[in-house]
Symmetry: C2
Subunit: 208 residues, 2 copies
């Protein structure tokens, strides 16, 4: 695309660095910003800048945080004996948004993937061990990807934490609510039959 303004071109260039944003979408955003009041644009750039410069990672769970500890770890109302182990902060946001979980989290920062050079030292596993050792955790809920790497990570962590005799669970896999059997992949369908539940466990999730 040929712009007759370097200012526009630079802004479009910067937007196209974001994921899934091509030149045309970037231009649409830039032109929208151009239509907005200067104060609104200042509020946009200010929020982005404060976010990048101000964000910290929680010393306990490695979730994003506005201070030394994240809001979840700092909340006295959360159940400190349960820790849900996830790969990324996106997973924390997804689970928090269900409003169904009241325990704490531990963000690993990825999963074991030797081919990509990600071993135990690249993940937040040592701090997970310390938490289990020192803070009265009784259950770890593993909410990792249902892939070979995810399973490997679950087994690795379970082995590392075996001495502590805590309860290690994984989130349920199966057919999604509202999902139709004929569109489910064979693996999921097969496992949802193999791991079928007694009818009294069939509860509907409340809330949004």
């Amino acid at each position: 695309m040929i712009f007759s303004s370097k200012l526009i071109e630079d802004a479009v260039q910067e937007f196209s660095k974001l994921p899934g944003i091509g030149k045309k979408t970037a231009l649409r955003m830039v032109l929208q910003l151009l239509r907005m009041d200067k104060q609104e644009v200042d509020s946009f750039t200010g929020a982005v800048s404060r976010m990048r410069h101000g964000i910290q990672f929680c010393a306990d769970c490695h979730n994003v945080s506005d201070g030394v500890k994240c809001d979840i770890c700092a909340n006295p109302g959360r159940n400190r004996s349960q820790v849900c182990v996830v790969e990324t902060i996106r997973d924390v946001i997804a689970i928090e948004s269900t409003q169904q979980y009241s325990g704490l989290y531990h963000v690993l920062g990825g999963i074991l993937s030797p081919l990509d050079g990600i071993g135990p030292d690249q993940l937040n596993i040592t701090t997970l061990q310390s938490r289990v050792k020192d803070t009265g955790v009784t259950e770890l809920i593993m909410a990792l990807s249902p892939t070979i790497e995810g399973d490997t990570t679950v087994y690795y962590i379970a082995r590392q934490l075996a001495p502590f005799k805590i309860n290690i669970t994984t989130i349920a896999r199966g057919i999604a609510f509202g999902g139709e059997l004929e569109y489910a992949d064979e693996m999921t369908l097969a496992r949802s039959i193999a791991k079928r539940l007694p009818i009294e466990n069939y509860v509907t999730v409340q809330g949004k």
Copy 2:
């Protein structure tokens, strides 16, 4: 969505004000910015801020501009006798990107639409008249939307400029290159037959 960081939440909120960006896409962008170096993010916010505060509108053609006159109007190599009349700066970018047009532009800022309260006074029509009157323009190429409003605007401008005896043309409408007849709408197909061209006019556009 529930975020455990106000900084993230604010940034997501700001991104979701952009067109076509929902909360999930906004979060993906914010998390990408979080992964980027602080300098890169400063370069992003800097470009956006400089764009919004620095941009001007060309005194001649109302295109976006880094100075009083836009790069196109300021370019001595452009053909000053031809002016292409468009609705928005996006149209200028689209036509410039074909690299096939060497004349000037005039950005109307919209088209006549009485129902939306857009009359001649809301558009840059007076300045177009002055340009035609004072600057030796011999041809106006009307590149407006092929809608009733667009056609009305073309007729209105043509009538206003009738005293100046300039050549007023509109861009060709028809089946797109590579377009298949069976998928063309009836109106376009009917008009492309009615306005058929002698074979010697059938030239292929060069360049990209």
